[in-house]
């Protein structure tokens, strides 16, 4: 197949050629970046929390009637006891927050009491001796809290734990060259000794701005006495549904002076995960949808314009067929024509895609677009072009040689 005649013919359809090329370029630029966003969001969705999420239940409890700290301490102890006796419950603890809850407390962790010189931020989780087994955390070094180490913390008071458990990521950042176990870290004015290290425990936040320290968490041995408490419950395998249906009634039966939201007071961890990543999933759906619409529109546009060209050139096709060109030649002609236009389009589109990405990076702190996306997009659009032109080209190849003798 010679390219010369194809180019010569295209010179007579400058506007149409240009429009298809521009269309392909725009599509490539937008689809590459949209799919890149989709991939980034899906990658966030699949980040591990470090906890065993199956059979896990969270209960948000708020005391009514303004109990004081002493009353809250005994109410909380009674609740933990009540929950433990619900059939199917394996373990339970009370805390301020848990991974993906999107609310909690962040602290600076450093090597001195001076909070302005902290090494990194970390999420602080209130924990007791049952936390590790309830969450299914993997202890990679050291030991768990003992029951006698768990303090009671009055609502607005500040923590000053004697011992803490860190995540491996946090330990590595604090002590890059030596084992962290047994060393002091400062999250308050007094030192806290690292007694244990867990493999991984995500922070409560999925926000991009806190992604840098998403695996930096510290467990502090306290029960916090505030009106709002989260109970984290592990059900025995296969009993999650049972437990979910009975915990609310069991807690209300023990004490009515409380609020457990009817809407989201009792949630399985699957529901917590769903809520946490709702925005990311939404953005992924939106971007995928736009990409699909755009590809369809581009494909339809190519079909439309190629059909027109085929209709316009029936006579010329007839002449070529009469002069001995096979159907195959005609088919190949249109495929080549489309390939040439599409090649010009993707060349411009590749540059546009990278330009758009650079702009998005500057404006919205996005990551750099991988070259794989551009190459994949180029391949996809060339295929789309060939696919879209196939039907009109086949129609062209069926134009009979006798067409040459007819006037339009």
């Amino acid at each position: 197949m010679q390219i010369g005649p194809v180019l010569a013919a295209l010179r007579h359809h400058k506007a149409g050629t240009l429009l298809i090329a521009v269309q392909i370029a725009l599509t490539l630029a937008i689809v590459c970046n949209a799919l890149f966003i989709v991939h980034a969001r899906l990658a966030r969705l699949s980040q591990p929390t470090g906890i065993d999420e199956s059979s896990l239940l969270v209960i948000g409890n708020e005391w009514a009637g303004k109990p004081n700290a002493d009353q809250m301490a005994s109410l909380m102890a009674a609740d933990l006891d009540t929950l433990r006796r619900v059939p199917g419950v394996a373990n339970v603890y009370a805390t301020n927050s848990f991974p993906l809850s999107n609310g909690g407390s962040a602290m600076g962790v450093g090597h001195s009491p001076d909070k302005l010189k902290y090494v990194t931020s970390a999420a602080a989780y209130y924990a007791d001796e049952n936390t590790l087994s309830t969450l299914g955390l993997k202890l990679v070094a050291g030991r768990n809290f003992n029951a006698n180490e768990i303090g009671l913390l009055d609502g607005k008071a500040y923590v000053h734990p004697a011992v803490v458990i860190l995540t491996r990521a946090l330990a590595m950042q604090m002590f890059p060259h030596e084992p962290a176990l047994g060393k002091p870290v400062y999250i308050s004015a007094s030192p806290s000794i690292v007694i244990g290290i867990v493999d991984r425990l995500r922070t409560p936040w999925v926000d991009n701005s806190m992604a840098k320290w998403a695996d930096s968490s510290v467990l502090v041995p306290y029960r916090r006495l505030t009106p709002v408490t989260q109970y984290v419950v592990r059900a025995q395998p296969g009993r999650l549904g049972d437990v979910r249906d009975h915990v609310r009634a069991a807690l209300y039966a023990a004490n009515r002076m409380r609020v457990i939201s009817a809407k989201d007071g009792v949630r399985t961890f699957a529901q917590v995960r769903e809520a946490a990543y709702r925005d990311d999933r939404g953005m992924a759906i939106l971007m995928s949808g736009i990409s699909v619409v755009l590809l369809l529109v581009t494909g339809a546009g190519i079909v439309g314009l190629s059909s027109f060209w085929v209709g316009q050139r029936r006579k010329q096709i007839g002449v070529r067929r009469a002069l001995g060109a096979t159907r195959h030649d005609i088919l190949r002609y249109f495929l080549t024509e489309n390939l040439l236009i599409a090649a010009a389009g993707v060349a411009i589109g590749g540059v546009l895609a990278i330009g758009l990405n650079l702009w998005l990076m500057r404006q919205f702190e996005m990551d750099r677009l991988g070259i794989g996306y551009v190459l994949g997009g180029v391949a996809a659009l060339l295929l789309l072009g060939q696919g879209a032109v196939l039907a009109p080209a086949l129609r062209a190849s069926r134009v009979p040689p006798v067409e040459a003798t007819r006037s339009v």
Binding site: L19, G282, L294, G304, L305
Partner: protein, 441 residues
């Protein structure tokens, strides 16, 4: 003549129904997607108080110094809220026309109706000038006076929704309300004031929130009775004394501050005052780093706090890209369609039709495609706005709505865009040489 062209256009469009439908669908998708994104964007990026936003300012004082900034990502900005000490000093000096320090509270209310359970409400502790500064609309009564600030009076302004719930919507001014176990006298009822974003306190609300603003009570009173803050607290060091009193004595930041300055002179005077305040504090040994204050007006402040979520902006950019791609596509299809009718144009030109007539005829045809596509796009926009809650956060998506302006804009964009897309094909069509066309036929 116009009727004739409309008739011609309809005939022509009917002749190739597949192509016509394709063009209409493409326009509709482009318009629907971009208008949906735009309606969301407009809802979140609009000026919440356009008549006054350039006269409202947020002062920032660098009380933590360079050490308080862990990374360089925030342009070396000082903390975006205030500690109690400085907020109280600025209120005492009273250098703006109006000003108010404020913090978010979430007290519990015992309804006057003994059958109702206690409820938790949200709101702000503010100064008396808050209401005049932000032109807050009242349904009954008014805000409290400066004397109530000074006397730490137990007065409260409630929002329309709470008034409806507790008093059936009647005039409740003068009645008492049990807040956190103490009696407050209601002095005003707001006329359902729910600004989005909550521009007077984006630090503690994030701007867009589904939380309600039910009560406003005097800042001095809230501090007096120890009503704790319900917003963010940011500490550079652990407060020496625990509890809410300890927070007030600490350099932790948790108070929002806004001031009204009516002209350039007032702004520069206030800026000088703020710098002078910092330098005085520095001279007394509190700081040992250089002056780094900020005094941003409201639009600049909202931008610096990134109140408009970046997802919304990215969606808008991508959807506008889709619109452009759709229009390029429509232009290509119109070109094909118009050039196919060279013979018809040749006949019309030969019979004496001027170029202008050809232009009119084809632009009307393009406009019709645009109008129909726009109508369908309008339907898609409506569907999009109601379905956007599936993919964007609820507190953002719920703000998007179809109104008359958006309706008109959708149609206008569609018609203008297709006519623009039809301009080149029409230009080509009108250049057809009558003699040449007639000869080949």
């Amino acid at each position: 003549m116009l009727g004739y062209y409309l008739d011609l256009a309809i005939r022509s469009l009917k002749r190739s129904p597949g192509l016509t439908l394709l063009m209409i669908l493409i326009v509709a998708f482009g318009v629907g997607a971009s208008m949906t994104s735009y309606s969301v964007f407009r809802a979140v990026s609009g000026d919440p108080i356009p008549w006054k936003s350039s006269r409202l300012f947020v002062p920032q004082i660098d009380i933590w110094g360079p050490k308080g900034r862990l990374d360089a990502s925030n342009n070396n900005d000082p903390p975006d809220a205030m500690d109690y000490l400085d907020a109280a000093a600025l209120m005492r000096d009273h250098r703006g026309k109006y000003q108010s320090a404020m913090y978010r509270v979430s007290p519990s209310i015992v309804p006057p109706d003994p059958h109702m359970h206690p409820i938790n409400v949200g709101g702000h502790a503010v100064y008396s000038e808050f209401f005049a500064m932000l032109d807050v609309p009242f349904k009954f009564g008014s805000g409290w006076g400066a004397d109530s600030d000074a006397q730490r009076a137990a007065v409260v302004v409630i929002n329309a929704k709470l008034n409806q719930k507790l008093f059936g919507g009647g005039n409740s001014v003068g009645k008492t309300l049990d807040i956190d176990g103490k009696d407050y006298r209601i002095v005003g009822v707001l006329d359902n004031w729910t600004p989005k974003p909550v521009y007077y306190d984006v630090v503690n609300t994030g701007g867009f929130t589904t939380d309600q603003e039910d009560v406003f009570l005097p800042f001095t009173r809230a501090i007096d009775v120890g009503m704790p803050n319900d917003g963010n607290t940011n500490c550079a060091e652990v407060p020496k004394t625990p509890g809410f009193v300890g927070l007030q004595q600490s350099p932790c930041v948790w108070i929002s501050y806004m001031v009204e300055l009516d002209d350039k002179a007032a702004v520069s005077a206030y800026k000088n005052y703020l710098d002078g305040y910092f330098n005085d504090q520095k001279a007394s040994g509190r700081f040992n780093w250089p002056l780094n204050n900020r005094l941003r007006d409201l639009p600049a402040w909202l931008a610096s706090e990134h109140v408009v979520p970046s997802d919304t902006k990215v969606s808008l950019v991508v959807a506008l890209g889709l619109l452009v791609a759709c229009l390029v596509n429509t232009a290509g299809l119109l070109l094909a369609k118009f050039l196919r009718r060279s013979a018809e144009i040749g006949v019309r030109r030969a019979l004496g039709a001027p170029r202008m007539a050809i232009y009119t005829q084809f632009l009307i045809e393009a406009g019709m495609v645009g109008f129909t596509g726009g109508l369908l796009g309008l339907l898609l926009t409506w569907v999009g706005i109601h379905g956007i809650g599936w993919v964007l956060p609820k507190e953002i998506a719920s703000l998007a709505r179809v109104d008359l302006g958006l309706l008109a804009l959708t149609l206008l964009v569609a018609v203008a865009a297709t006519m623009l897309a039809g301009l080149y094909p029409t230009f080509r069509a009108s250049r057809v040489q009558p003699a040449l066309q007639l000869k080949t036929n």
